[in-house]
Symmetry: C2
Subunit: 202 residues, 2 copies
């Protein structure tokens, strides 16, 4: 009973978004009456939130299963972030939600995506914490760093303008490495062979 409702809700929200699906629709899809739904969930929004929680758990799995034990920490981080992005793009319910927020600005959809982001940030920050404990990551404001990393990946993969052929995985990894891991600063002796002065800073 409950399962059939959840399954129907999952399909409906995935195909039509939050405001696009009606409780009648879900009931019909689940083959139960509308009243039955309210025996299990107090409101449409509660049902939606419940479904979303499931997705959030899946997102975490996507990140984790992209990790390769024993591989370089930052390689893994990059892979995890890319897995997050791919999941977000491929998962029907999430991409529908993103579209809905853009198109209608539905408050509930917005709140849902916000919750998702918060969960991801939380998880990312914990992952970074592990890096710090391992001595691989410089101690810093992990919440801020997680936030910037997530936004940077999102922005680059979604909005980077030139050439429709999006960045290749390697290009993105190069960027990630060069910008976030090693930093922009050119240090003496590590640039291309044959540059004269590297000391110019105060």
């Amino acid at each position: 009973m409950r399962d059939r409702i959840e399954e129907a809700a999952r399909r409906a929200f995935s195909e039509f978004g939050y405001k696009g699906t009606t409780m009648d629709q879900i009931a019909r899809l689940a083959g139960v009456s509308k009243g039955a739904i309210y025996l299990h969930f107090p409101s449409k929004e509660a049902l939606f939130q419940h479904m979303l929680r499931g997705v959030i758990a899946q997102v975490r799995d996507a990140f984790e299963s992209a990790q390769t034990e024993g591989d370089d920490y930052f390689r893994n981080l990059d892979r995890g972030l890319r897995a997050l992005m791919r999941f977000r793009a491929d998962h029907a319910m999430l991409s529908k939600l993103v579209q809905e927020v853009r198109q209608f600005g539905t408050a509930e959809a917005r709140a849902g995506l916000q919750e998702l982001e918060t969960a991801i940030l939380d998880y990312l920050a914990r992952h970074l914490k592990r890096g710090v404990d391992l001595g691989v990551v410089r101690p810093c404001r992990l919440d801020l760093v997680a936030f910037v990393l997530l936004r940077a990946y999102t922005a680059v993969l979604r909005d980077f303008p030139p050439a429709e052929g999006a960045l290749s995985e390697e290009e993105l990894y190069e960027l990630f490495t060069g910008l976030f891991v090693d930093g922009l600063r050119l240090r003496p002796g590590e640039g291309e062979p044959g540059n004269a002065q590297t000391e110019q800073e105060r």
Copy 2:
């Protein structure tokens, strides 16, 4: 004549946004007839774009006048980026435009902000190029780096969730330095005194 029209347009667009201002309004404000405007500009959109070009030039000035000759390259870059953000937030026409895009999604306003971003990215990339030539910045995809920097500053200053009291200038600079300039990787001997193993990477 032309000047009065421009001045009136500047005021109107700043106060009411693109779709909020009418040609009649501008004419009245400038103390001329509506037909007179079309003697100088072929359309409302052309007039708007012309005004925007002026703002774009101002943005560049804001970046440049935040630079301090002889100061550390990255200090200057951070100051420039912050100046950009401040300008965007303080300038009446720009903030009105941002609001308009969010609220109504006006196509012309969206296009205008897009043009502004492109101009800034162009300018930023050139600035970075100078850094590379000076030997301070590691050679890399400057367009991408400029893009990520701009988006990162925007995101942090606009959307970073916790504690309403936004980041202080120093906190932001720390983040910038730690994340983009020096990188996340903890290198042997540079961490807090007394951490054992820093070699854990493959």
